[in-house]
Symmetry: C3
Subunit: 360 residues, 3 copies
């Protein structure tokens, strides 16, 4: 069987990933595997999120099975106590606590509904690398959100989100119409980011838009799929009556997608959709919540179906043939491969946005 | 642990295997893994069966999750369209379609209730190698059939079917009596086929025969287990009142078994039983359907029990000791090993029937 | 990832392990995997327990799926018959039975409610190596017992049982109080055995003692955790009113734990608790049965939680840091490693009790 590797086999580590949605983490200890490591998440009494390696350095018992005492965790097996920085502050019967008796602490940042984690070298954790998604907390926008688990490697979903021609086939009753896949999109990229834009003039509205935006005739519709490596996407969506230049008739979605590896072949999918129209209508909010969850579940199922095929050919991989819509997805692979190569060389300054290349 | 390999680790590919029973395949897309490959089966509008690799050559999405449009399949992920020969005939946004953008098409033949597939070099697909089982569609015979899935390697069932001494122990209430295992059988073979024949005179009838054939006293009974490599069996069965030479009192079964690997350690078992007596009696037909399904399920469970033992010893294998009844089964291993050796040498003309050797 | 092996990867074989509790084995054929081998257990007509390899040497069919005929087993696939020593005494159609056609027979000994198995060289099976647990059948004691299955390697439970500081954290409502973990224990050992003793004076009684022993005020309490390699433990427990030297007020438990590997990462846990107080009170017996089963299930869950972490790091292992309570557990690793090294050198006289070393 062919031995070409199409998908990265490791994860860039000196990067920010979404660890959780704000709403998921409270004061109770919350276990989650991220990038192949067990992590326990919780909040201190003043609400700061904390992430520690979810294995006691004594005998690997998950700290998440222990007891939160104030801002500290008492291990549920032998009673070692760790503070929110991961330092061991108490061992029964023992005055001396070795300095290396630590649970690794991961830098976290909380931004507009998402909790970001840095699982590489903490000294390199650079806040300026966190993608801006402040619109999720902006006035004039209302947000629905959810978390999905996927039995497939993360890159399959990264590529799904960078080629929205799939709406026609995978989401025909909600977001796709027959025409979407036939309108060319333009891909642009830099060292950290890929954008794929599709402008659709005088096109039929899909079911979701009809119901949520109240659009009935032909529309002008845009999609901008933005990927910020290694695992974040913002999908910018707009629609208005065809040919109508009245801005008040413009309806917008901004959808964020945190695609975070759990293991090499399983992934968490954190999503949130903000809209700027009918923001006081709870029925539309409820509809958006349900419809988006269903759409993304279909994406998850599609990636899982591919993963089952890939698994049968490992360690090889069946040959892929690229088509025109793959420009954006292929660039996302290149960026992640470059991040990994940089990390392997140990030179890795985390890559940043730079000059923009383009393909039509 | 011992490292001897008793069972082949690969499948001869330049050979016909049963892919499905006729009744299983309609116009809807039907996914099935065969010989370690995903296959999608369907019928064209004029009823011809088609088999394509069940993975789009673009990104390996299963074509069986797509849409049948006329005789073609539209991929359910990005809309590529493939015709029944596996050629890609449409890619959204794209005029040029590269010639290598193909889903592999597998030669199929439909014969008397079974659909045969050739998963090796299509140029070598030779119809004359398909075993004759036309009796399944002959007048004067009525057939019941079914498909079973087995979590065990195919060769375990090939050997089960070539040593019917097991009827006494595994099927004591239906097909076996205590005497069967004690009557010697004669094994003969050639380059493609193994036959094991057992003639039982003046013997008790088993439960199935009493109920279905209406035999009550002692009987004369014959079994001829015929294996046509790599995965087809016909069991020829006859019974009549002991010593009675009136042909009108003879009842016959012909049972076909298609043993087709799904993966190295899982297998499909396609079975059909034809009988030439009481063919208009629906109650006997219904009884035969249920009783045979139960018998073969017991065989499947036996093979699965062995597979669990084998799995625990891999990559080695626990030592086997052969006994007298193994002559036929051992020849089936030799034939398959020879087929594999021929394929590895690339010389492989598919083997055919030749001179017949014999062991008593 | 770190590649240090903390836990043994094999099992000492020239040793006794608990195969079953007496009550589990009757005349029906009972299958159980032990030390990575399939074993069938049953009793002869005069009640003697028998253990044979649970795979017919012909084609590996589990003998436990066959028929017990007198003291013999008839294989359920092809009818070979094996006697209680594993010798094949009948093969259909065959007068000559090769001498190597045998199912391996394992030496068994039955002692006070437990059946012990020796899975190494039968010639070395030495009864004097079986730990004494005769108190389980002594007058004046009453016993409750059970069998648990654990999806974790055996050594995790061996270490659990040698560090009872965990009672405070894992069993806080039944056996632990906050004080237990803070009372130092003394570890002693020899070539086969580790003892860890904790004497607690004037301490609060745990929930189990309050309910079962009827102790209400402060108590004097002792624990002696005794490990006899490779997989047996006796926990000696006593309690009495604090400062009260009247022996009639002393209540004792002796708990035996047979920790027997099923596979490298799964284990059987055979337990029995004998008590010497209120032995005629069925309500206390019933309470002890339920409470102990729950306690040991919590231990099983803890080991399984650790196993899931370990599995994610294999073939490496995450770094462990030892603390004061690990003296006993670490000695148990050393003893088993030494047993394995002896077996690898082929010199292995099974190790025995010898000079006693000590650590405070």
């Amino acid at each position: 069987m062919e031995s070409k590797q199409y998908y990265p086999d490791e994860f860039p580590r000196n990067q920010w990933y979404v660890a959780a949605r704000t709403a998921e983490i409270g004061q109770e200890l919350f276990p989650r595997w991220l990038l192949g490591e067990p992590v326990v998440l919780y909040r201190t009494e003043d609400g700061q999120p904390v992430a520690l390696a979810d294995r006691c350095p004594h005998r690997q018992y998950p700290l998440s099975r222990g007891l939160r005492v104030g801002d500290e965790i008492e291990c549920g097996y032998h009673g070692l106590v760790f503070n929110a920085e991961g330092r061991c502050v108490s061992v029964p019967q023992q005055d001396h606590i070795p300095d290396h008796l630590r649970a690794r602490a991961y830098p976290l940042r909380e931004r507009a509904g998402l909790i970001w984690i840095w699982m590489g070298d903490p000294a390199r954790a650079d806040d300026s690398l966190i993608p801006d998604h402040s619109f999720m907390a902006s006035e004039g926008w209302v947000t629905v959100s959810g978390t999905l688990h996927m039995k497939a490697r993360a890159q399959l979903m990264n590529e799904n989100l960078l080629d929205l021609s799939h709406l026609t086939y995978l989401h025909p009753t909600t977001l796709g119409t027959r025409q979407v896949a036939y309108v060319p999109a333009e891909a642009t990229w830099d060292e950290r980011r890929v954008c794929v834009e599709r402008v659709m003039k005088n096109i039929e509205p899909p079911g979701f838009f009809v119901r949520a935006m109240g659009l009935e005739g032909q529309i002008d519709r845009t999609q901008l799929a933005e990927f910020i490596a290694p695992g974040f996407h913002i999908t910018h969506v707009s629609a208005k009556p065809a040919g109508d230049d009245d801005d008040s008739r413009l309806s917008q979605h901004k959808v964020v997608h945190g695609i975070t590896p759990e293991t090499r072949t399983t992934t968490f999918y954190f999503w949130a959709m903000a809209r700027d129209y009918r923001i006081d209508d709870p029925e539309i909010t409820s509809f958006a919540q349900d419809a988006q969850a269903r759409v993304f579940s279909d994406d998850v199922e599609a990636c899982e179906a591919i993963e089952r095929v890939l698994a049968a050919y490992e360690p090889g991989a069946p040959t892929q043939t690229n088509i025109k819509v793959d420009a954006g997805p292929l660039q996302s692979r290149r960026i992640i491969e470059r991040m990994l190569a940089d990390e392997r060389q140990g030179t890795a300054e985390p890559t940043r946005q730079g000059a923009v290349a383009s393909v039509s």
